[in-house]
């Protein structure tokens, strides 16, 4: 090691990854010393995986039970050890080939709102079906005495449904009315409660018709739509939450010369924080000891590693690549770069906040019409016949028949089907409005590093390097974590190069690798260091690593950030669909322009700070152009929040992923075109569904206004329109026309 630290950081902090302390912090106490830890294991997908994971974990000493949840791709482990140190759960899973990571406590699995919705749905279903059973006997001609008895039983059954299951709608309607707005729930609430009250009145006076069945089955159908809507959002949310967290839960600090693992929130400015190679820097600070290289791609969009030494500033979120570092914190966790980004995101909250859902816009048009119509038919009948009771009955029949049952299902059912289709292609959508907004875009802005590119270098000139040099380089790089070394090892592994074994390999932070064998000294890394003082002739824009033996050049490795497979096709596809494509990057102009040329993008801005990215996106919004932002870094998060709709790869920084409306899991950029295709297709289906629902109303309303709607007609009409709307939604194809199918990976 080149630096002379008094403390061996790497040995204290141990191997990078999740530390036992972090597992303990993230576990919860089940009582009597047993603790439960939730791990997210994205790789489980079949019975064999379940068996392998559960058996492996259960065999670890101290583990009491392990249970895989395949739906959420999570495993819950209950463990109890004498000293409170958790077993090496993550290491054991890695040993059998499953990557796993901690699932934090604040993302608890239980969802009280969903449970409430399902209970309301179950009750409404129970009541409406039993009422329907009684109604059928009334419709088929029960005599007056049993009819009244049946209606009374129906009233008893309808009461809990109207009170308990209806709450969902009353609460929403009330909060809308209180703010002087109206939504779909207002006519629903009025219709259901009036229908119930009138039917109760009629039952007590032994009238032939009662609308208990209509009121409860209306609730039942609408609750189905509501529950589907909620399930879809939750599912995407928990899937996104299950991805690896980039921000650590805590950090190892030095207190009185002793290492101590503490939660992030307790780190004070001036604390000494230890950062091992392979870990992310948890907090803004200044390097006190050690030399290393940092991967800043997540923070600044810069793809080449940056070298840091004593007194250099480091930002929270950057990855420490080669050497252990001791960092003095200069800010608290909530004042760090990360928190700054979160604040900018909150300020930038753009398209999403202003956007009004299609369903709400429809309701704003729809409910005044419905209310006026019901009122007019009441007044008209009152004027013509002077019969209060008949007029009220007809007005309520109008309300029930026009109640937006099909409208309530028209949007959520399409969005649920669309989300399902996107899931099949590895794209997760956060909520339904994202699909609506996606269908409206007229431009796409891409971030470069990590979005258009994979954010890690790959070897460009593998063919030109002699096999002997490749073998030497392979042997040197195989144990290294540096992205350049990994790229060389990856390229070497693809060929049939013999690995050279060395007596000693040492990683020089910020410089490269040095190895020795039979008295020869091999170096691989930065040209000026490798050539030992002699000046390299280097006019290339790409980063280059040299390999030397005793100072003599053996090979030059040219490295470049590898472009995502299908990036070119994805861009072409978007341009073909009439969208303006541009690149907004924080990286240097030369690199960005080179890539833009390769992808055929003309609109390029480079060297942007996070604030400037937001400004760039906001300028489009002001010009009334709706922009889809695709980005992954911390520096993209505010722009993701500001854009009309946003998309991030699963490898993105946590807050970027949280800010984005869509998250795609595959490496291929064809996800952008695919999501757009499905969004546009589902918009068409939603419009069709609205047309169907409105058309049905146009047919049914005259019948209702003329007073011909009996409970039987209402029940049949309502069910029929809902079934038609659902059937139409299911027509959404799994691979939309116009979007590309993922082709073979291609290297540029």
């Amino acid at each position: 090691m080149t630096c002379c630290t008094t403390i061996d950081v790497q040995s204290i902090v141990g191997q990078p990854g999740t530390m036992p302390d972090e597992i303990r912090l993230a576990s919860r106490d089940l009582g009597d010393g047993t603790r439960q830890t939730d791990l997210s294991v994205p790789g489980v997908h079949c019975a064999a995986c379940i068996a392998a994971v559960e058996r492996t974990l259960a065999r670890l000493p101290g583990v009491e039970r392990a249970r895989v949840n395949l739906s959420t791709r999570r495993v819950a482990v209950a463990w109890r050890t004498g000293d409170g140190v958790p077993p090496d759960l993550i290491g054991a899973l890695r040993g059998i080939g499953y990557e796993s990571h901690l699932f934090a406590l604040d993302q608890d699995a239980r969802d009280p709102e969903l449970a409430g919705l399902i209970k309301a749905l179950a009750l409404a279903g129970f009541c409406s079906m039993n009422i329907m059973m009684l109604s059928l006997s009334v419709w088929s001609g029960a005599d007056a005495a049993s009819r009244q008895a049946f209606h009374l039983i129906s009233a008893l059954l309808a009461l809990p449904a109207v009170v308990y299951s209806g709450r969902v709608f009353y609460a929403s309607a009330w909060s809308a009315l209180r703010h002087g707005r109206t939504n779909m729930d207002v006519p629903i609430s009025i219709g259901v409660s009036l229908a119930f009250a009138l039917s109760l009145y009629d039952t007590l006076h032994n009238a032939p018709h009662a609308y208990f069945d209509a009121a409860t089955s209306l609730l039942f159908f609408l609750l189905i739509g509501r529950t589907l809507d909620h399930v879809m959002r939750e599912r995407a949310r928990s899937a996104v939450a299950g991805l690896a967290r980039l921000a650590p839960a805590g950090a190892t600090i030095l207190r009185d010369g002793r290492p101590l693992y503490i939660p992030m929130s307790e780190i004070e400015p001036g604390s000494t924080v230890l950062v091992a190679a392979g870990e992310r820097v948890p907090i803004d600070g200044v390097v006190e000891h050690g030399v290393s290289e940092l991967d800043c791609s997540v923070v600044s969009g810069e793809s080449a590693p940056r070298k840091v030494a004593l007194d250099d500033k480091v930002q929270a979120g950057v990855m420490n690549l080669t050497g252990p570092l001791t960092v003095r914190a200069t800010a608290r966790a909530e004042d760090s770069f990360l928190a700054e980004m979160v604040r900018m995101m909150a300020a930038a909250e753009g398209g999403r906040a202003r956007y009004r859902r299609v369903a709400d816009r429809a309701a704003a048009l729809y409910s005044p019409v419905v209310h006026t119509m019901a009122l007019l038919s009441f007044l008209g009948w009152l004027y013509l016949t002077g019969d209060w009771h008949a007029s009220v009955t007809i007005a309520i029949a109008v309300l029930i028949i026009t109640c937006p049952c099909a409208l309530g299902l028209a949007v959520p059912i399409v969005q649920v089907v669309a989300a399902r289709r996107l899931f099949e292609r590895g794209i997760m959508v956060k909520d339904g409005t994202a699909l609506e907004r996606m269908a409206e875009i007229d431009g796409v802005a891409f971030d470069k590093t990590g979005t258009l590119t994979l954010g890690r270098p790959s070897l460009l000139n593998a063919e030109q390097i002699p096999p002997s040099a490749m073998g030497i380089a392979f042997g040197m790089t195989i144990g290294s974590r540096h992205p350049a070394a990994r790229a060389i090892a990856e390229a070497a592994a693809r060929g049939t190069n013999p690995i050279m074994a060395f007596d000693r390999i040492e990683e020089m932070p910020g410089l490269g690798l040095e190895a020795s064998r039979d008295g020869d000294r091999y170096r691989l890394g930065r040209p000026e260091w490798v050539l030992e003082g002699r000046n390299p002739e280097n006019g290339l824009a790409e980063s280059v690593s040299y390999l030397t033996r005793n100072g003599d050049l053996l090979a030059a490795f040219v490295m470049e950030d590898s472009v995502r497979p299908d990036a070119r096709e994805a861009v072409d596809d978007l341009v073909r669909q009439g969208l303006a494509v541009e690149i907004v990057s924080g990286d240097r102009a030369a690199v960005v322009e080179g890539l833009a040329l390769k992808l055929g993008v003309h609109e390029v801005s480079s060297g942007l700070l996070p604030g400037e990215k937001v400004a760039r996106v906001a300028s489009h919004e002001q010009a009334h152009r709706k922009i889809l932002m695709v980005g992954d870094g911390l520096n993209d998060a505010p722009a993701l929040a500001a854009a009309h709709v946003s998309m991030a790869p699963a490898t993105a920084a946590d807050i970027g992923r949280n800010a984005a409306d869509f998250v795609f899991l595959n490496e291929s950029l064809s996800a952008v075109g695919g999501a757009l295709g499905i969004a546009r297709r589902s918009r068409t289906l939603i419009v069709q569904n609205f047309a169907l629902a409105v058309g049905y109303n146009a047919l049914a309303v005259p019948v209702a206004v003329l007073g011909y709607v009996t409970p039987l007609v209402a029940a049949v009409a309502m069910s029929l329109s809902s079934i038609i709307v659902v059937a139409n939604a299911l027509r959404l194809p799994s691979i939309p026309t116009g979007a590309m199918s993922p082709g073979p990976p291609r290297r540029n």
Partner: protein, 57 residues
């Protein structure tokens, strides 16, 4: 006539039992992992028991 009332009573009772069962299964976590339940059928033994069944045999 009275047989009809009995039938209605029995019908409602059965429906109530169904509703109660559903609510119980909801609270019991029967719907937490529907995909997992479908796959677990294929497992020979319950992997949660640390493979004890296997050794005892």
């Amino acid at each position: 006539m009275s047989s009809m009332w009995w039938l209605i009573l029995i019908g409602l009772g059965m429906a109530c039992a169904g509703l109660a069962t559903f609510l119980w299964s909801l609270r019991n976590g029967q719907y937490e992992d529907l995909d997992g339940a479908a796959e677990r059928v294929l497992l020979e033994e319950d992997p949660g028991d640390k493979g004890r069944t296997h050794q005892e045999r």
